[in-house]
Amino acid sequence: MAFNQGTAGMSFHRRDFLLAAAVTATGGAIMYSKGLAAMLADGDHSGHDMPMMDRPAFIDQAVSAFSTEKRAQVSAMAETLLPRTDTPGAIDAQVPKFLELLYDQWMAAPEKQLFDRGLAEVDKQAQAAHGKIFSDCDAEDQKAVLEKMEEEQGDHSWFNFGGASVADNQDNIPFMALFKEITVVGFFMSEVGAQQVLRYDMMPGAFDGDTSLGYDDSSWAAVPFM
């Protein structure tokens, strides 16, 4: 199954998927449905919603909600939270664009204001401590700014073990909770994050509850518990 487990730069075409799904068949028992295959093959989805597996990635939409400066600041902040190491970082995974899309399409006015106030505060603190706006600080200073912000805001219940998502509870959420959650989600749910940082297997075909896990092995990409 070529598309599994971190195939770099893999784009997800439906033919690959259908082929892969057929290959997955164990003892001929699992075959992908003819109905869905036909629906995808005809390529005309007018009149009904398109299967999500045949849609472009969420990140592939155009968006223009941020100024150049704002884009630079958000990029620097996302990369500071989740930097490129031996695995890709936030910028590699297009997280800055994800945040811009969320700002444009997902946040209500109060959350947009919270986000904007947070960015202003980040720049203010960068100026006060390091004499420069956040994007112009070096990586170590950028990290120090966000750590200090987190310390100031970190007594909120979002920071509890198993805290509630900012999407489920917008009451008095601090900026750093909003920023961390949407950055983490954008990163690990991205194609790069799921395949090159985590491990991804859409059609496992079998369950094994006793595989071995090495010290440095990544988690599976998330699938909701339903």
Partner: protein
């Protein structure tokens, strides 16, 4: 099934009309059509064709809008209640009703979350798939402790119908040989996680009164009727084009369609059942066509009402006539009353240090189960509540969704989130809820929903017995976690939550006496011999196991009975 083969006709008298296409409507349609009856199935929701129209199935994570974050502005507006369900997300959203289309009212101070399906297949599309038989004690509990009316049937009456249904819906599970937790016709059980096997061994030593078994689930582990075994992609409620979990679409509808005897009419909202006082029978149903807005009448010799617990009562209460001024089949006055839902609470959670080097492949859409162990064969000496509860258990290897809440910025934080966190063992108790007359629904005639129906007003609240039971759950969960070897226990915070097990039942209950119940032992109206109600509404008590299998077995049994009367010309 790709399209409706037969066109519905208002000129024809069908042998039977089935109202609703969910869990039990599908079983009714399958059973009746297989016996040769011409059946019209009416569904309020829109068509959803198997296997090609599950738009969220196998959606890559990066295709899901907003990375799967709840679209809270939209949900507050249109899905205020439905979006609270664990099975609701952008990839399943199309399977639910819009709360803005059909709001409901609640008595002040009560909080019940009413989850509803918006497509053909109803909630069988998004259900949790846990599949358990009632035990013999469940059918005698009302008679023994005096709460509710005695069931008109016993376990032995339903046992063959459990078998009958299990064989075609497909249930995987492990036989345990317990009288109070009867085994069924199982496909091979799903595998346990290493940690679950370890917990099972420890419980056998340190809490030997506890049975810990793999969940009995309507997810296939072996082929069945052209359906494939589970491929472990994990998010069943998005739909399954291989038909690996039971739904109307995967199982009952294709068989009913194949007989040639079924006509399915989606977007057909039943307003009322029409009663003929001359014959004392129901003659058909009045339907609002949701496409054209037209009011249509369909006729049948037999009516199966399977609209789901609250909607079935709503339809009966809305079907008033001179003969039935309080609603059809309601000479007893019980229709709409004795609503129950399971006393469900997530409880203490354990953190484990075992099997840190063990992992998994495949997303098993199933957990483990601890069947009821309290008050079996009589009241336990140390309980202050009646009846009991079972516990659904899940071991979960935490990932970034949980660990992101920790402090940290930078490479160390990223690496901590990239790798699996500890194992946790989470438990959710489902307790029996006693039937209380004051819990139920009424209609507000002054307001109508998008389907033209008067709004439902719900009053659902737990009583003292349920609250006491929850206290016992917390104590027992602590004992179980210690016996299982948890290194840390996070206790239940005891907070009050909405009632939301999605196991609502009652409202048109069965019983022996026509004065205190609406249905007899065949799910047949005491008042109207050609009216059968076989969804959750028929339940005279709630038991504690997940109820769908019992509804389906009751439906198959009632359908067999009705078909025999039809064949004899009695109905």
């Amino acid at each position: 099934m790709t399209e409706t083969m037969n066109q519905a006709s208002t000129n024809k008298t069908y042998d039977a009309i089935v109202i609703g296409s969910g869990m039990t409507g599908g079983v009714a349609a399958r059973e009746l059509t297989e016996k040769g009856m011409q059946v019209l199935m009416l569904e309020r929701g829109t068509a959803l064709n198997h296997p090609g129209e599950y738009i969220g199935e196998h959606a890559p994570n990066w295709s899901i809008p907003f990375g799967g974050l709840a679209d809270y502005q939209n949900y507050k507006k249109d899905y205020a209640v439905q979006s609270k369900s664990y099975a609701f997300d952008e990839a399943t959203k199309a399977h639910w009703i819009k709360d803005s289309d059909e709001p409901y009212l609640q008595e002040e101070g009560t909080n019940f979350e009413w989850m509803r399906g918006g497509r053909v297949g109803g909630r069988s599309l998004m259900w949790g798939r846990q599949t358990y038989r009632w035990g013999p004690h469940d059918f005698t509990a009302n008679a023994e402790d005096g709460h509710g009316v005695d069931w008109p049937i016993r376990y032995e009456d339903l046992a063959p119908w459990y078998s009958h249904v299990e064989k075609y819906i497909g249930v995987s599970g492990q036989k345990e040989g317990l009288e109070s937790f009867p085994d069924g016709e199982f496909q091979k059980p799903m595998e346990m996680y290493a940690l679950e096997k370890r917990i099972k061994r420890r419980l056998a030593r340190h809490a030997s009164d506890i049975t810990y078994t793999i969940g009995r689930s309507a997810v296939l582990t072996e082929p069945l009727e052209g359906r494939s075994p589970c491929h472990y992609c994990g998010a069943c409620p998005r739909g399954c084009s291989t038909g690996s979990y039971f739904s109307t679409q995967s199982s009952t509808l294709p068989v009913a369609m194949k007989t040639g005897n079924l006509t399915l009419r989606p977007e057909s909202a039943v307003q009322k059942i029409i009663y003929d006082s001359a014959t004392g029978k129901a003659t058909g149903v009045q339907v609002k066509d949701m496409k054209s807005g037209a009011t249509l009448v369909y006729k049948a010799r037999i009516i199966f009402l399977n609209a789901s617990t609250i909607h079935s009562a709503q339809i009966l209460l809305n079907s008033k006539s001179a003969a039935f001024p309080n609603g059809l089949a309601n000479s007893s006055g019980v229709v709409g009353r004795y609503l129950m839902d399971h006393n469900e609470h997530s409880t203490n959670m354990g953190i484990f240090f075992d099997d840190i080097d063990r992992y998994f492949s495949g997303k098993r859409p199933n957990g483990c189960y601890i069947p009821r162990f309290r008050n079996i064969g009589g009241q336990d000496e140390d309980t202050d509540f009646l009846r009991g509860y079972g516990i659904q258990c899940n071991v979960v290897r935490l990932d970034h969704r949980f660990t992101m809440h920790q402090k940290g910025i930078g490479a160390d934080y990223k690496d901590a989130l990239r790798k699996p966190g500890p194992w946790v063992f989470a438990m959710s108790a489902f307790g029996e809820c006693l039937p209380y007359q004051e819990n139920g629904i009424s209609l507000d005639e002054s307001r109508r929903d998008a389907f033209g129906m008067p709004l439902v007003k719900i009053r659902m609240e737990f009583g003292e017995n349920e609250h006491k039971m929850r206290g016992d759950v917390t104590r027992q969960a602590d004992r179980i976690l210690k016996a299982a070897g948890a290194v840390a226990i996070i206790p239940d915070d005891g907070s009050e939550k909405p009632i939301s097990a999605i196991h609502e039942m009652g409202t048109v209950r069965m019983g022996k006496d026509a004065k205190t119940s609406a249905l007899n032992g065949w799910n047949q109206s005491h008042d109207i011999p050609n009216l059968f109600v076989t969804d959750g509404a028929a339940m005279a008590s709630s038991g504690n196991v997940n109820p769908s299998l019992t509804y389906m077995a009751l439906t198959a049994r009632a359908a067999d009975y009705a078909a025999k009367l039809w064949k004899k010309g009695v109905l």
